[in-house]
Amino acid sequence: MSYVTKSPWVIHYDGSSCNGCDIEVLACLTPMYDAERFGIINTGNPKHADLFLVTGGVNEQNKNVVKQIYEQMPEPKVVVAIGICACSGGIFAECYNILGGVDQVIPVDVYVPGCAARPESIIDGIVQGLGVLAEKRAAMGSAPAAKTEE
């Protein structure tokens, strides 16, 4: 069994969200929902993260940032688009500066729609992401298996 599913560390990036979804993401970490039950930690550091939570659509200013965060995450990694704006651009889709959903820039594995997405669905989306993560881990194949501590 792979341990990637047991300790999903996330990084959260606010694209051009109205902050509604961001507040819901943070609400997941409160005692009410307690995402740490599943080992979920908000790391704020792509180099530590397994899941990339993006809220809001991607715009001209931040597309490179989104790309870079994605590139800096070590494999296996999963992108979860949170909220309808991150999924498709939402009501901002037609704005002059918006490129559209996150999948315009980086591959997205799980879409969590909603305006704003509810904490339950965000946690559900992350747990769905874990399945993808496990598949990707299995695809890495020859990478060293889990070792017991020396």
Partner: protein
């Protein structure tokens, strides 16, 4: 032959028991350390009114990190981190083999230096600020740690851990101030609030992750394991204050270790992060008044032949 050599090397009777202790430390310390970390997280969650992760969560984290892709920012960082783990284990071995307390302290400093250089080597702003703060914390706690060793020396007459344990009375009788001072700086050593300046234990995104910002995958896992080793042997220091030859004292000592750990978790959850000035001012004042004050009194008690 090996034992003979080690006997010579450590300057006291080096028996099979010591080797057993060393092996136990090397094998069990990460288990104990990991479980302690898990309990810490669970306790913290409960203190915050949450359910919290499973007790084994720290192990899951480390195993996961082991499975991640290996990336690094330069050719040297991993070496420094490996050396950190190696010298932390060595420090623990010196300690649990009953060696010289000063040797233990110096080798711990060497290990910490590798961690700091590892962070510095990334030349990343967050890692560097974290490393500088870690250095500052080292400067803050170093006097108290050295005074602890000196306190044991004045009471027992040698720096050897084995001799401290072979004493008739617990050292804490003579070293109450030093003990409180040591528990105080344990907050810095465990990297807990209010002094989790260097790695943002709770405020995950302040300074990104401080010193650990540029470590990922296995490198980060190694750091976690090293910290487990480190925590176990720091609790060993606490044990040393109380344990002596009698069985009762050993049981009390273990209980005190558990209590101190619980206490640190409690402090961790009841304080916000404080500024670095507070870290250095408070730990130096504690070292000066509780640590040195205690030692000063002991000196005069010795001079007038009271102890």
């Amino acid at each position: 032959m090996t034992i003979d050599f080690l006997t010579n090397a450590f300057g006291f009777n080096f028996g099979v028991l010591n080797i057993v202790f060393i092996i136990l430390f090397v094998v069990l310390a990460p288990l104990v350390g990991g479980i302690l970390a898990g309990i810490d997280r669970k306790l913290s969650a409960r203190m915050q009114g949450r359910f919290g992760p499973p007790i084994l969560q720290p192990f899951f984290d480390v195993f996961k990190l082991m499975e991640k892709e290996g990336i690094t920012v330069n050719k040297y960082q991993d070496f420094y981190m490996g050396a950190f783990l190696f010298f932390i284990i060595l420090t623990g071995v010196f300690f649990f083999a009953g060696g010289d307390l000063l040797l233990v302290i110096f080798s711990l400093t060497l290990a910490s230096m590798f961690l700091i250089v590892s962070a510095f080597s990334a030349n990343s702003p967050y890692a560097e600020i974290g490393a500088s703060r870690e250095l500052l914390q080292m400067m803050a706690y170093e006097p108290m740690v050295l005074l602890t060793a000196v306190g044991f020396y004045i009471v027992i007459g040698t720096f050897n851990v084995a001799d401290v344990l072979a004493a008739g009375k617990p050292a804490i009788i003579y070293l109450p101030g030093v003990f409180i001072g040591f528990v105080f700086i344990l907050t810095l050593k465990f990297r807990k609030s209010p002094f989790d300046l260097s790695m943002s234990h709770h405020a995950h995104q302040e300074l990104v992750k401080g010193m650990a910002t540029e470590f990922s995958g296995k490198t980060l896992a190694l750091m976690e394991i090293s910290h487990w080793y480190e925590n176990v042997f720091l609790l060993g220091f606490v044990y040393l204050f109380i344990a002596c030859t009698s069985w009762v004292s050993i049981i009390i000592a273990l209980l005190v270790c558990i209590f101190v750990y619980f206490f640190e978790t409690f402090i961790d959850n009841s304080f916000a992060r404080m500024r670095w000035e507070v870290a250095i001012n408070s730990s130096w004042i504690v070292a000066l008044i509780l640590g040195f004050g205690n030692i000063f009194v002991l000196y005069f008690l010795k001079l007038f032949g009271i102890i």
